[in-house]
């Protein structure tokens, strides 16, 4: 499905602070599965996600989606295949527009934007249906500006918008990290529902070990740009993950 081959990426090039984060990095993501990528700060998980999405340009290597190398495409070209929900609840929506306007934009994803009216009345029942599935009452607030919604509501809307035109690949960029535990749980459950209903191939970045185990099929742990653990989620427990995590951190402190 998604194959990352020989990927390299350095930061702060040609300065004293040059860091090579990825060197000949390889990873394969299976179709219709949810893969969680975990690891401590600076391990490269966000960079990896950004390189897949195209917001960070890779130095070397290829990113094969099905049989197409998307590694050199611009972010907007890649978005035909990719849906993304960001950590910041404002990133996936247009806050000053209404729910209806936001959904109408998402409905036109990767199409040509013309001088026709954006909001199409005949599509509203479909939007209402999608919002009803979230069960947050958003279907009754179609004309509310998104900036007046709570973080959890916004993230749920982002999720619906990112999956409205089913993407080949869904990227979840710590999308519940900015939410309180209860809302985070609700949004994670909604996410699971949407992914399972449409069988979407997903990469999820998380700091939350429990979420990673509960909601993914496979866990990949990164450390300094290398895969240090790659297991089926059912074969590992939260305690074991925490132990590996702790060992890494204490080793880092010792070194």
């Amino acid at each position: 499905m998604l194959k990352i081959n020989n990927l390299s990426k350095s930061f702060n090039k040609e300065t004293d602070h040059e860091i090579q984060l990825f060197k000949n990095f390889n990873l394969e993501i299976q179709k219709n599965k949810c893969t969680a990528i975990i690891g401590s700060n600076g391990c490269g998980k966000s960079t990896l996600l950004n390189m897949i999405a195209g917001s960070i340009i890779l130095d070397d290597g290829e990113i094969m989606l099905e049989d197409k190398n998307i590694g050199r495409l611009t972010e907007e070209k890649r978005s035909v295949h990719i849906g993304r929900v960001y950590q910041n609840p404002s990133m996936g929506v247009s806050p000053s527009l209404t729910i209806l306007e936001n959904m109408s934009l998402a409905d036109k994803k990767s199409e040509r934007f013309t001088l026709k009216r954006l909001v199409k009345k005949n599509r509203i029942p479909e939007y209402i249906k999608l919002l009803k599935e979230l069960d947050l009452g958003l279907e009754n607030q179609l004309n509310t500006q998104v900036k007046y919604l709570s973080g959890g509501q916004r993230q749920s809307l982002s999720l619906v918008m990112a999956t409205m035109k089913l993407p080949d690949l869904l990227l979840l960029d710590e999308h519940t990290a900015a939410l309180d535990p209860k809302t985070s749980f609700v949004v994670m459950e909604k996410t699971k529902e949407v992914i399972e209903r449409h069988n979407i191939t997903t990469i999820m970045i998380s700091h939350n070990m429990k979420d990673a185990i509960d909601y993914s099929d496979r866990i990949v742990m990164l450390d300094k740009g290398k895969v240090i653990l790659d297991k089926d989620s059912k074969d590992i427990t939260e305690a074991e993950l925490m132990e590996i995590y702790r060992m890494r951190i204490s080793r880092d402190i010792a070194s």
Partner: protein, 294 residues
Amino acid sequence: MNSLIITSLEQGLIFGILALGVLLTYKILDIADLSVEGTFPFGAFIFAKFISSGMDPITSSLLAFVLGTLAGLLTATLFIKLKIKPILAGILTMTILYSVNLRTNGKANIGLFDFPSIFDNVNKLLLLFIIVIVIKVLMDLFLKTESGYLLIATGDNEALVRSLGQNSNKYKIIGLMLANGLVALSGALMAQYQGFADMTMGSGIIVIALASIIIGDTVKKSSNKIKNTTRAIFGAMVYKIIGGIAIDLGLNNHDLKAVNALIVISFIFYNNNSSKIKRFFKNLFKKERGEMNA
């Protein structure tokens, strides 16, 4: 007094077009575009050039709009292709336009009294009102289209626009071009209205535009019912009336620009602190009543 109000309204409408232009960049795209300081007189000089070479006033005004969009394209190119910060890109365009304006007609001011204008033999106020309404309606319609919404979304959240598979830079270019076109048109109308084009027409024009937008925002701030475009036009007219009254009351013309800036500062202060200000007056009122009762 009556003629003062009418003059203020007429000029307010001309500045309304200016404000509609700046609304696109400042408010919708969130770009501080200073090139309008050059585009406003540019429009006036372009008009002067064409009208003095025998063209009719309507075509000359429309050409001012068209060439104005090119000034916007220049700013957009500096900003997007050469990665110059928008504020500097605007200043650079403005500086370039200064020379261009001088070159267009070879002098710093040109009288236009001998040439026809769109205001000949018509009611100026009515004509301006119609022009402004037509532009406003067109703009409102555009902002409801698929492309129009992408323009709004670009100012709101560029990441979303890219994730929709669209090039956000394209919409910045469109916005900057339309904005500068409108500002140039406003300059062309002002030149016809006052009967001359002058190099200094543009200085401080951005303050007038911002004042209009900010004053417009003060009206029923939280209401979604009033469109941004309506607010900008209304703001421009209120602004001109305030200025007109100030001059009528004996304000020295030399002080006008400083007063303009003060008007902007006070409206921004009010917008940012309206709840505090309201509370202050409420308390003051209560206290006075309390004292009276005692």
